[in-house]
Point group: C2
DNA sequence: GAAAATAGATTAAGCGCTTAACTAAAAATA
DNA sequence: TATTTTTAGTTAAGCGCTTAATCTATTTTC
């Protein structure tokens, strides 16, 4: 049967309170007693029951991680660093994929609350803002990754999406491109990437055309689909460059382009976002805007755990710099050999 | 403050036992009473505390999933289907990445046991066989994915690795290749893939040369590295085809080959294994042996949950058929235009 | 050497729930 | 109508732990 604190106490010839004290390293006792209890625990292969101690108001040492889809490389890479850091900090992680679906978000939050998780990391946009505000006003430990909504009094860790968008567009513009399409995601962060893209155009004195702008879910299929939309429009000249707001979209674009016989980057330059493993597996490698995934994953755990330990919101806002990783999918546009500078 | 069963009981004017009964749908009571309690629960936004009920011997409705590395696409894809199915069955999943490291395996198993998880899924090879046997003989609900060790009395779900290896090698052989290298993983399943590869050679009357056999960890870097090893050996003619035992290795091989100026598949045919998202993002697409990931993920959860509910090991062994997905990285060998048949 | 302080341990209450045992009232049976 | 059975609910113990309150030596202080 299960070994309980009573078994240990009996065997060691002390009370359960004493055993509890050695478990938690609290109170005072003779060194010999501590040692004897420790040995007995070892001997009986005793494992304290987390449920019972959680019932007494201790932490469950479990945090919930809500992501859109753990099978998406960005999230699985983030999840891995979160998991590792959480373990270092003595916590387990329950991962839930919400599919950016309100119902699931709600269901999983409820479930996680019932399990008494100590805190929650929102791994990307969380759509049910009302539920979010409820959690926040309940003082529940919360940290948001990649969703820097300044209207919410929560700790956030994210990348400077504006800058990322700016750098991606600037790279294209610098390379002489003047017709640069953007395929954005239905995500909060995309708003900033779009703004950055627009700001870069302004800096270069290039008009930003509505016709080159699409917004969709960030899948490979959609990348392909919107590439085709872009290239089958009769009203506009096709773009010579595309800024896709995640790597999957970029890869879809590349696949669509290659299927049409277009050369990458000779005929079309493509930039992605995230620098997931996918960006490294294409040949040529995908030029993309890197998020410091490992750093961010670590940080979000630290922020959350600090908050849990402090017992109140620390409202930390951390913004990391994105980095443009130039690989093989971007190149000077045909119509302009000379590289360009902003105005 | 937290709403407890007492609050509900008081408000509804019943005893906590009655409330408990409506929560668990047990015992009998007037319909009007049940309804009143239900309404009160709703009204107070009451969420039963899983810890407390777990303490009373109920399930925690949590299962642990141990994988090598959740950031590896194969595992993240599997994890996603496991997660979904588990949720359908009313359970949460705690994911732990072991890095195929004994220490971590042990540490995470301990942690999960302390958290009273109802069962464990071993998502790939589990190295600490002793610990495994301990768990099994303790009667702890366990299911193994992709690790069909017949010496262990556990339920397993896996793909027919022998057949997968056989089909991969046969495809190369059929295409006329006679120098087919194999890069295997340090995983239990690789043994069968290797056997299948050897059996196919036998069927075609082709000698299997030791020099074309390597074993390593299944990363992109290692794919590249072993491609180079293979092509810089002076003692043997380089292979015209490679069977890599996972997609990452295959991609590494392709990257190495392209870096050397080799054309894929004209100069080198490559087959991977797993059919992860990575196999679809390369251009041309990677020919690979598909595991029915979704089916397997679902099944392993069902097996485990059935076992948990039955309260004893069902010792189910499920073997799925792999499927060779021919994409663009395999082609007839130069030295033989005609396709070949087995003896 | 008596009072006060300290060290080392125990007792007992209680966390939020489940459930076996019980009770009281209503319904069925004799 | 009296007795048995059924229904609808309650009481109370206990799951494995934490911790404040308590207790008993043993030391320290003056």
């Amino acid at each position: 049967m299960k070994v309980t604190i009573y078994d240990v106490a009996k065997q060691a010839g002390v009370s359960i309170a004493t055993v509890s004290k050695v478990i938690n390293n609290t109170g005072r006792m003779r060194e010999s007693t501590r040692k004897r209890v420790l040995e007995t625990m070892e001997e009986l292969n005793y494992r304290p029951n987390v449920m019972a101690s959680a019932l007494m108001g201790k932490r469950t040492e479990t945090i919930g991680l809500l992501v859109q889809d753990i099978s998406n490389p960005l999230f699985s890479e983030v999840a891995r660093t979160i998991e590792d850091r959480a373990h270092e900090r003595g916590m387990n992680v329950i991962i839930c994929s919400t599919d950016a679906n309100r119902e699931k978000e709600k269901k999983y939050v409820e479930l996680l609350m019932r399990k008494q998780v100590d805190g929650l990391i929102m791994g990307s946009s969380f759509h049910d803002k009302k539920l979010l505000q409820e959690l926040i006003s309940d003082g529940f430990p919360l940290a948001m990754l990649t969703h820097d909504d300044s209207s919410l009094p929560v700790s956030t860790v994210s990348v400077d999406d504006f800058k990322g968008g700016y750098e991606a567009a600037s790279h294209h513009l610098f390379n002489g491109h003047r017709r640069i399409a953007i395929i954005a995601e239905h995500a909060y962060s995309s708003n900033f990437r779009i703004s950055g893209y627009q700001a870069a155009h302004k800096a270069y004195g290039v008009e930003c055309r509505e016709e080159y702008f699409y917004r969709t879910h960030g899948t490979i299929e959609n990348g392909k689909k919107y590439f085709e939309k872009l290239f089958h429009r009769k009203d506009i000249a096709p773009p010579t460059a595309i800024f896709a707001c995640n790597d999957q979209l970029a890869i879809g674009v590349i696949q669509g382009a290659k299927a049409q016989g277009l050369g990458i980057p000779e005929d079309l330059s493509v930039i992605g976002f995230d620098n997931t493993i996918l960006a490294t597996t294409t040949v040529p490698g995908l030029t993309t805007v890197a998020q410091p995934i490992v750093t961010m994953g670590k940080k979000i755990v630290d922020v959350l755990v600090d908050e849990i330990q402090a017992g109140r919101s620390l409202r930390e806002r951390v913004l990391y710099n994105p980095e443009l990783i130039v690989r093989g999918t971007t190149y000077a546009a045909k119509e302009s050999a000379a590289n360009m500078k902003p105005l």
